[in-house]
Symmetry: C2
Subunit: 167 residues, 2 copies
């Protein structure tokens, strides 16, 4: 492989792969929002990504092995995007970024509750969540005993939303 990076530093290379304003947002929505189709990612986007940017980022992430794309058997025009081991392994980075943002930036309550739970749960919870993502995205066998971390995070989020919507 040709060395196409500015340097051999792992921080730098990670930044060259993920260091822009949208790549991690796309992965976050697939990961925590379970959005698997182009339109889902486009229309439910909290930050309002443009369709050409989304198309470009999906292409780049496919190229670099952070996503895979498959045809949806239920609809000839639909594509399903899935995480790979490489992107599932970003969970610790997401967790630490979430914790840092929660501490130093003016985040909103409903969008920070999941980050807070991830921080409190620590590495054991991250491992559970990663295993769950492998089931969802890589067809890994499922352990029926384990309660779903995804559902736990989702429930906590919806609970805050409901509470804030109430008079």
């Amino acid at each position: 492989m040709v060395d196409e990076y500015r340097s051999g530093c792992p921080i730098n290379q990670t930044l060259e792969v993920l260091g822009d304003r949208w790549s991690l947002i796309v992965i976050r929505d697939i990961m925590f929002g379970n959005r698997r189709h182009f339109r889902e990612l486009l229309q439910n986007s909290e930050e309002g990504i443009a369709s050409n940017i989304l198309a470009d980022r999906l292409k780049r992430l496919l190229d670099r092995g952070l996503l895979t794309r498959a045809d949806d058997p239920s609809h000839k025009q639909k594509a399903i995007y899935s995480l790979t081991e490489m992107s599932i392994s970003l969970i610790p980075i997401f967790a630490e970024m979430g914790a840092w943002g929660n501490r130093f930036l003016p985040v909103s309550e409903e969008l920070s509750i999941r980050a807070q739970l991830l921080e409190e749960g620590g590495r054991p919870l991250w491992q559970d969540f990663m295993q769950e993502l492998r089931v969802l995205h890589l067809d890994a066998p499922r352990d029926p005993q384990k309660p779903s971390v995804f559902e736990k995070l989702q429930a906590a989020y919806l609970e805050v939303v409901a509470r804030k919507a109430a008079p």
Copy 2:
């Protein structure tokens, strides 16, 4: 404070502050390379940052509270850049990014040894290093008992460089 972020999500806000190709590189060089002056950051840059980009990033990081700037008493034109608690708290993110890059990207041995030590040392080592950075950058009182993490990382790096330079 006016809400100038695309959304209230902590991941998104962290990305809006640090999600470009240079901001974290600058902080990394101050943090792990102990480069405190403009020229040091410019000329020793592994990735070859341009002077206008460096000037712009330093300004942005000052604005956002990730760096402070002070006059160097030894030279009227020199400025000393220092980390803040906000940027020192990025250590876990750096550690996780380093670990991820080490695992999935074609990093070089000499530039990944520090990331490897940080990963192996885990959170206790991160805490020690953060305390050390507070001494260096925030004038926190020093514990003379503790061996220096900074020196340990630096020594490991230089050892790999020396070994690779030998015939």
